[in-house]
């Protein structure tokens, strides 16, 4: 059956748009909503836009910042000096200068009707000073080590083209003048993006003359399009099709551990978390999740390997840290809790719940890979140790709003971050709106020791010292079970045999990183 399917799908003779050696057709998994690079900080948009626009700081395959349009140094703990490469040309031939950089940084804060996003990266910078044509000095209010990482998200537009430009101007390409490897030819919203090589690209000539990014959010469709030969490569190989693509001799896969960690938040601050009750439906005397033994029992009940292998079809690794292995601040000494249902029952009994209780896991059903399936499987596993578990799945549109209102006792969340201290600030820092701590800390977990570590780490400008402290914070959060990590996602690209791709932990798909073999 399978073999026949493969042959059939390959034979399915889609009219091939004449394939030249210098063309590259890539299938993307999510819609690109606009070509304005500062309108909304959404990864699908960034994926497409970063073909056209550059950033001061690049991020390498492992998620570490490296020099992009500029190199940088810190002159004191609050001053960052960025020096531009000389001779970098925009698509219209004019030279990139610090004027364009300053304009781009300011523009992120001044777009009408924007749901924001980029402001987060730019707001910590309180003063910007142009030293000369190639040097710009940025100052933060307090020592903050994340400046370089943050600027890897802010794309540099050309001041002349982008001044007074509307979203439509970017979409049409009029204002989409960058220094990136490709020029925007056509942005057909919801369908595809056509790009042409920038022959003056500062990093040298690229193999692909014409690149088309096809928007194919439906998983089976993306796979079918690759199998039919219509595409050269696809991103985010669906778990359901992985085995089949792996077997196909005309294709190859590239994989990396993603920066995204999937975990459960357990309400640890209220007396009566929503959805948690005795098996008779009556409220429990106290919140069981406040007891570390119960949290440990739940963690032991989860067969992380089974989730990774069965639900995720191998596209996941059991997790222990807040960030995945290659990311800044990951502590390799922290190991995933081994599967031990017997030990879990014992711990539950010790904590005073020999017969378990009743909980409900809330999960989005359209956000992370197989999210509701993962939640259901965890529910199966909790049920095995006597904790009656329901799953409350809903679309993202309803989920985040309700989670912010703290409507859930147990909630599933995925987090992609390039630094453990930044992730912990949002996820496990004591909620403090003024300081921006604990914005996503749905657990209500609060530990002054952890807060102090996060604060110290973020305020350390020297990357090596900062990582040491960030690791300590990661280890502490894991030890205390501020939340229960489930798995790190593995991200997969599938492509024709004659291509290679440097798989990236940050999940970005860049045509300029595909190489002929």
């Amino acid at each position: 059956m399978l073999k026949r399917l493969i042959i059939a799908a390959c034979a399915s003779a889609w009219t091939l748009t004449a394939v030249f050696a210098a063309d590259l057709n890539i299938g993307l998994s999510a819609d690109v909503t606009t070509f304005d690079p500062h309108f909304v900080a959404a990864q699908p948009n960034l994926t497409a836009q970063k073909h056209v626009f550059d950033t001061l700081v690049y991020v390498d395959e492992r998620g570490r910042p490296i020099p992009g349009l500029a190199t940088w140094k810190t002159t004191d703990s609050v001053t960052w000096e960025f020096t531009l490469r000389r001779g970098v040309k925009f698509h219209d031939g004019s030279e990139l200068t610090t004027d364009d950089v300053l304009f781009s940084l300011d523009r992120t804060l001044n777009i009408k009707g924007s749901p924001g996003g980029y402001a987060t990266y730019v707001r910590p910078i309180i003063a910007k000073e142009i030293v000369d044509r190639y040097t710009i000095r940025l100052k933060t209010a307090a020592p903050y080590g994340g400046v370089a990482q943050d600027l890897s998200e802010v794309q540099i537009v050309q001041k002349r083209a982008a001044q007074n430009a509307t979203g439509e101007d970017f979409d049409s390409g009029r204002a989409a003048i960058g220094t990136g490897p490709y020029k925007l030819v056509r942005f057909a919203r919801g369908s595809r993006i056509e790009l042409a090589r920038n022959d003056d690209y500062w990093r040298g000539r690229l193999p692909w003359e014409k690149v088309t990014l096809h928007i194919l959010p439906s998983d089976p469709v993306r796979t079918a399009a690759l199998l039919s030969g219509q595409l050269d490569a696809i991103e985010h190989v669906p778990t359901a099709d992985l085995a089949r693509l792996r077997k196909d001799p005309s294709l190859r896969l590239e994989q990396a551990v993603s920066w995204r960690t999937i975990f459960l938040h357990l309400d640890q601050y209220r007396e009566h978390p929503p959805g948690v009750s005795g098996k008779d439906g009556k409220a429990l005397e106290r919140n069981p999740f406040k007891d570390a033994r119960v949290r440990r029992a739940l963690s032991k009940a989860i067969n992380r390997r089974a989730i990774a292998e069965r639900v995720m079809e191998g596209l996941a690794l059991p997790a222990a840290n807040v960030v995945s292995p290659s990311v800044f601040g990951h502590d390799p000494a922290v190991k995933p809790e081994p599967y031990d249902p017997k030990g879990a029952r014992q711990l539950l009994a010790e904590a005073g719940y020999p017969d378990g209780f009743r909980v409900s896991i809330a999960t989005p059903n359209n956000r992370y890979i197989n999210d509701e399936q993962v939640a259901q499987t965890v529910a199966q596993m909790f049920s095995r140790i006597g904790i009656e578990t329901r799953v409350d799945a809903m679309p993202l549109s309803a989920y985040f709003g309700r989670a912010r209102k703290r409507d859930f006792g147990i909630a599933l969340l995925g987090w992609g971050s390039l630094a453990a201290d930044l992730a912990l600030r949002s996820l496990a820092g004591t909620t403090n709106p003024e300081k921006g701590y604990g914005t996503w800390n749905w657990s209500g977990y609060s530990n002054p020791e952890l807060d102090a570590l996060i604060e110290r780490s973020l305020a350390t400008v020297d990357p090596r010292k900062r990582e040491t402290i960030a690791r300590q914070a990661s280890a502490l959060a894991a030890r205390e079970m501020a939340f229960l990590p489930l798995h790190y996602q593995i991200v997969t690209w599938a492509m024709k045999k004659n291509l290679s791709y440097a798989a990236r932990t940050d999940e970005f798909t860049f045509a300029h990183h595909f190489k002929p073999r």
Binding site: A41, Y121, F400
Partner: protein
């Protein structure tokens, strides 16, 4: 006539008003789109700023008032996620949807009427019964499941047709059309047939019933007894008799076909406005949801109007009644 059109217009304005109010309040109650769109690293202050930038911090009635004020001048607001006017986004996708709906209607008419005639003329033959049985199944099949099965059979098993998407387009008078290219035809075949299925079943039943009724009429029996050849009887008497209900149903159903395109577009990844609606619902992009409804309601008013006019033109009795009234 004029007063009739005016009444329709007032009615539809009322519908638009009620619908927009409902959608406004409803989407507001579900959640804040900023929660979905915001950069995860953002702090509360940033979330509040973004909420204000989208005008979502205002009391609901103020937001609605602002919308109404804009709508009167033809501005339906900008999409929260696309940085483009909502109306523009809808109109951009409309040709794809209309193309799909028209092709589906064409398939239903071209197949449905002959099959219905056959079943009506020979109701007791095996073929006649087969056609009727088929129409019952076509009536009952949930269209999305048929879509799934079509993909499985024609794309996966047989490999004849591309599973999804819209084919190559050519620009005709500024509109992108895909039915004029071979690639486009191959892409539209499955979704259009899928979408046509229900109307096809409906037309078969309608034509069959109409044919049988006409054949039982005295004038038809008389004509046949007189020796008028069957093809002529069919053309002159039977078809004329069933034309009016068919035109009405095709017209009225065209609206349904457009609404149902939402499902078909989702299955076949057809880049039409129905798919845009589903996508917008999932990110709470309210301006686009409201704009979609507005356009669709207007489309419906237009369709109903055309159907009524066609009806008047085809049926002399209606015209007479209209004149005397």
């Amino acid at each position: 006539m004029l007063s009739f059109i005016l009444r329709r217009l007032v009615q539809s304005l009322l519908v638009l008003f009620v619908m927009s109010l409902l959608v406004f309040a409803g989407v507001y109650a579900i959640g804040n789109p900023v929660d979905i769109l915001i950069n995860p690293q953002a702090d509360q202050a940033e979330i509040a700023r973004a909420t204000a930038a989208l005008g979502l911090d205002l009391p609901l009635w103020r937001q609605y008032w602002n919308f109404l004020a804009g709508a009167v001048s033809g501005d339906l607001g900008r999409s929260f996620v696309s940085n483009a006017p909502a109306l523009h986004l809808i109109l951009e996708r409309m040709p794809a949807t209309l193309e799909l709906a028209l092709t589906a209607t064409l398939i239903a008419v071209v197949l449905g009427i002959p099959l219905g005639l056959w079943a009506g003329l020979r109701p007791d033959t095996a073929v006649g019964r087969l056609i009727m049985g088929g129409s019952i199944i076509g009536f009952s099949l949930p269209s999305f499941w048929v879509g799934v099965m079509l993909i499985m059979v024609f794309s996966v098993e047989l490999g004849w047709l591309p599973p999804t998407g819209r084919g190559e387009t050519v620009t005709v008078m500024g509109i992108q059309l895909s039915i004029l290219t071979w690639d486009g035809l191959r892409h539209i075949a499955m979704p259009a047939f899928n979408l046509a299925l229900f109307e096809l079943a409906l037309l078969i039943r309608l034509t069959r019933a109409g044919t049988r009724e006409a054949l039982g009429q005295d004038y038809v029996r008389f004509a046949r007894a007189k020796g008028v050849p069957m093809p002529r009887v069919l053309r002159v008497h039977v078809l004329k008799n069933i034309l009016i209900p068919i035109v009405t149903v095709v017209g009225v159903e065209f609206g349904s076909v457009i609404a149902f395109a939402v499902v078909t577009e989702t299955i076949f990844a057809w880049p039409g406005m129905g798919k845009l609606l589903i996508d917008s619902i999932s990110v709470l992009d309210r301006p686009v949801i409201v704009a979609y409804l507005l356009i669709v309601v207007l489309l419906f008013v237009l369709i109903n109007l055309i159907v009524d006019l066609a009806y008047t033109a085809l049926d002399p009795r209606v015209r007479l009644a209209g004149r005397s009234a």
